[in-house]
Structure formats: C-alpha cells, structure tokens
C-alpha cells in the first residue's frame, strides 16, 4: 500500500537580502495512515519550514520549494492548482500551531469559528454546523461544550484554546494532522492533558500525525517514528525505540544526553559545544562537523548521505557503523 504522504528530496530556499538561504535541504520521508511521525530539532533545523512547505504556506515573496516532490493521497501537492490546494489545506491535511491565540479570531465566538471550518469543507449545513461544532468540542475534551461554544477566545485558558484549535483542525475530517509544537506554550499538567487527548482522538479517527517538536521526551511518549533534523538536513531517522536506544548520529546522542536528566545532581551535564550554524556560514561538509567530537577531515569536506543504520533506520554520518 502506498503511504499517505511521501516527501522526496524536499528543498526549500528563503530569499535572503543578498543570497538564498537553504532552510530545508533534500529531505525525504513518508507517513503511513494512522502513524505518528515526529520531526525533532533545535531552532533553525527546518522542521517548521517542512510543515509550511507541505501546506504550501510559504509566502511567495519570502521563499519557495526549489526541488523535490510531495505526494499526498496520490496527488502531487506541489503541482496542484491553488483552488484544489485550498480544499486540501484544512481539509485532508490540517494544522495546529503553537500559539492558538494567534490562529483564532479574537472577535468571533469559538463555536462559530469551528462551524465556519465545517461549512468551508462542506462537512455540515448552516443548520447543523453549530451542533456539529459542539460535538467536536466534546470530542476534544472541552467541558460544558455548549457554554464554551458561545465564548470568545480570550475567555478560554491556553489549554482550552488549543483544544478549540484541534476541533477546528478536525472539522475537515483530516487524514493527516500537522501539529507544530502544539503543547510548547502550555503548562506541564495541561500539556499532558492535550497530548493524551490528541492520542485518543488519533486512534479513534485513524488519523496520521506529523508532530513537530524540540522535546525528545514528548517524542518518547507519542511518536512511532522520528526524524532528527539539524540545520535543514535530516541526520537520523527510524522508529523511536531504535533511534533513542541506539542513536547512530553524534548529534542525536548529544541531544538525548542533554535531555536525559537522570543522574546525580553533582554531575556535570553532557553538553554539545558551540551552537547551530547560521545560514551563510554553513560548513561545506557535514553541517554538524564543527560541533562534533569525532569529526574527521573527511567530515569537514564531504557531505554524508543518509545510509542504513544499525537500528534499521537511516543515518547521515561517516562515523556511524553501517550494518554488515
């Protein structure tokens, strides 16, 4: 069976003042129906740009997809006319962002905003839309949904707003939910509630999810597979258990060690020296080489490609042992 989403060689450039900046560099992956794939990385890794490229939301003047293909449910999204793309966006592919206050309209009641999304995707009639909106609020765990539907975004807490955003995302009956740092702005107990809610809805609706996060612990608890991004490139991918228990790339190892807070309070933390390279000072070889403890001369000159790793996934590193 063909995957729900297949991305091949995706490359995105932003038009800088003087030169193009490569935000995403030749990234390939696929997502099966019902699967959760996590994209992890630090700032500037290109993980959010990938999401925007999938939704064709990169502003025309700011940047563009330079090469690659995006196949979703048998359609080539990059070749789709804008009108058809509009039906996919918010329909079969929905998106939830970090800050629901930015995405919700402050002057409309939340019930109406969910109803609008239902109507736009032909999932309800003007008569049934509000009832269906209340059903969706119930589905995402909003208590007293009839009352909440009549409230404005500012009446709601951060966790409730994010649930409303998820309800709007579900309105179009999506096969794929792109969640970009959906719980980063929430308190930790509320984050746990929203993640549990998303997991329950996913299994109930059989929806696939692309989870974008910087938090490897969130990935541990929610994802089936993971892609680790660094400076616009994919450094490692595989199932979460394989990658997290036997990381093959030194960057993945470093990230895991920096996130793993188990250990004595007196110990020094393992750290990755330096910081993510700025665009324009990207090294010619492996992007991680300047911060890598085991980098060789070859790493500084030649760029590694993604090869099969011992854990069965892929890794982009000359030093990682390949299965023999």
């Amino acid at each position: 069976m063909s995957p729900l989403l297949a991305v091949k060689g995706l490359t995105v450039d932003y038009h800088g003042m003087h030169n193009a900046e490569r935000a995403v560099d030749g990234v390939s992956f696929s997502i099966a129906r019902g699967e959760t794939l996590a994209l992890v990385g630090e700032s500037g890794s290109g993980k959010s740009t990938i999401a925007h490229a999938l939704m064709r939301l990169i502003p025309r003047g700011a940047g563009s997809v330079s090469s690659g293909s995006i196949a979703f449910e048998g359609q080539d999204l990059l070749a789709l006319p804008e009108a058809a793309m509009r039906a996919v966006r918010g329909g079969r592919i929905a998106m939830v962002f970090q800050d629901p206050m930015m995405a919700l309209n402050p002057v409309h009641r939340v019930g109406r905003q969910i109803a609008e999304s239902l109507l736009a995707h032909g999932k309800a009639t003007p008569r049934t839309a509000i009832d269906r909106a209340i059903e969706l609020l119930t589905l995402v765990g909003v208590p007293a949904p009839e009352k909440r539907a009549r409230q404005y975004p500012h009446n709601l807490s951060g966790g409730m707003r994010q649930r409303v955003m998820i309800a709007i995302a579900l309105a179009g009956d999506p096969a794929l939910l792109i969640a970009d740092e959906p719980t980063t702005a929430l308190d930790v107990t509320v984050q746990a509630q929203v993640l549990a809610e998303i997991a329950a809805i996913k299994s109930r609706l059989g929806m696939a999810m692309l989870l974008i996060t910087h938090d490897l612990a969130v990935v541990s608890e929610t994802a089936d597979r993971v892609i680790v991004m660094y400076a616009g490139r994919m450094v490692e991918e595989g199932n979460v258990e394989g990658v997290f228990s036997r990381p093959a790339h030194p960057y993945t190892r470093g990230l895991l060690e920096a996130t793993d807070w188990e250990g004595a309070a007196s110990d020094r933390m393992r750290e990755i020296p330096g910081s993510v390279p700025n665009q324009g000072e990207m090294p010619p070889g492996c992007a991680f080489a300047p911060r890598c403890a085991i980098a060789t001369e070859r790493c500084r000159i030649e760029r590694p490609s993604v090869e099969r790793a011992l854990h069965g996934g892929g890794v982009s590193c000359f030093a990682a042992g390949s299965p023999s």
Partner: protein, 324 residues
Amino acid sequence: MTDAVAVPLLEARDIVKHYRVGGLLGQKIVHALDVVSLSVATRETVAVVGESGCGKSTLGRCLVALEEPTSGILFLRGAPSRSILSIEPLRFRRDVQIVFQDPYASLNPRRTIGQSLDDPLRVHRMGNRVERREQAEQLMLRVGLQQRHLDRYPHELSGGQRQRVAIARALAPGPSLIVCDEAVSSLDVSVQAQIINLLRDIQKQTGVAYVFITHNLHLVKRFAQRIVVMYLGQIVEEGTTEEMTARFLHPYSAALFAAAPKLWRGGVRPRATPPIGGDVPSPFAPPSGCRFHTRCPIAQDSCRTVEPSLRQVAGRTVRCHLAE
C-alpha cells in the same frame, strides 16, 4: 546546608504581594503571593517550580527587591532589606542579582556588549575606564566568551551567547545570590546544558547561591539541592531534591512531576501518566479551603472548606491535610 544557627544569606519572611488590576469599576485584586517564606544559604541552589500564575516570578522579583511586597520582610544576612535599601541601596544591589529568560529583551540592541557590561561596573564604582574594561574582559572569559565579543551588538550573538552576557552582567558586581528566572527556558536543549554547567562552575568558584525559577522540572533534578513547589501564590511543598524526587508528599507536586514527559531510551516504554484534570484556577478568586482541591485526586470534604497550613512531615514542609 540549612544550619539552624547560621543566619541565612537571604530570607523572605511571610511575603504577601497583591496587585490591583482594572480601573475604577470592577477593580480586582490578584493574590500573587500569599504568605510565602523562603531562605537561601550561601553556595546553595534552590529551585522554585510551578505552573503559570503560581507566583514564582513575583517571588523572584520580590527577592531582588524589584517589587515591594504588600507585607512581609526580606532579610539580607539577617538585616532587613528595607533599611539596607534606604541607607545603602547599592550594597543590596551588589549582593543580589537577577537573570531573566529573554536576554534579547534585557540587552539594549543599540549598545555593544561592552557598553552594556560596563553599566554595572560603573554604577558600582568598580575602577576607572581602563580597569573596568579589564574587568569586562575577565567577565567575558569567565562566562566562556571572548574579549572580541565586547565590541559586538546583541543581534550578532546567538541566544546562548546572549544569555552568557546576561550572566556576566549579573556577576559583574560580585553578587552572593543570583535569581535565575527561567534563565535557560528559551534556549535550545544542547545550549541549556552548557549554561547549567557554566552556572555550576561559577558556583564552585565563588560560592554564589542561586534561586532557580523554572517550569522545566527535569532540569531541577540535576541542578538544585532544594525544591520549592508553588501553587496559586502559596508554597505547597518544600524539601531536599533527593527526598522530594524519591516521594512527593503533596498531591500537586506528585501530579506536576508525573505530568512531565519522560525520555525513553529503550526497555519498557514509559506510559504517559493519566494527567490530572482541569486548569490552574484564576488567581483572582482562588478556591476555598485548599487551593488545589478542585483538581486534587484525593481531596476530601475538609479540603474544600479548611485551608491547610504548612506543616512539617517527614522532615519537610507540606501544605496538605492528608500528607503523611
């Protein structure tokens, strides 16, 4: 660390902080801090954790006398801060410093790092221009930056480097206590570990104490000797990191730490703990009785009516009728 005889470095006793919010009509009072006491010893790291609205940042601002408490007294080495501040304000400011979450907001974008770093040295009359430049250079080296960074502007540095500058500026007058208010929260994971190690190294060299305000619970386990858990303006539990992480006595502390996602590095996959329900109630109208009773899994009738006071249980302080 908490020697009964020794005078604590900084002690906050029964701090209350109310804010008036709103205009003439419908003026409301936020109970940001409701009788909070805390003491910090030299060379100690105390973590203050809690969710939004718990008052942890207000406490931090009261500790460094950026906010005047509505009532309660702050003592620096046994002397009331109010009298030190009225006679010798610079002495208090020299001793107690603060580092904020966003170094980009606390550094003037139009002044070089060197100019920003010179301010505290000049204010505290720490030598002539040449001597101050030498001290600034020394400070840069101490926080892992180079002398050349003094002539840069904030936008030319990475987030981690800017936070190092903020730490250098806090260190400039030679403080004995630094309040770190979410000081690493906006940094990339790999950089967080660098800053934590830096803070730890500085503590080893100078004996500086830290009050580490954070919502990042994993970090606390590795960094602090003592943990203070706050909920809606009150301390609900306080104890040594070792005792606390072995077993929490207050149901909120337990729920808070259980809600933090766990990293999975092979073996049995950690299952997300069923989260506690509800949101943090509004600090405008905290619940009657125990403030946590609306979300508490073990609350009884008395919890709804009788407010628990802080009491000693198994060598620590806890605000719960049922803790034993």
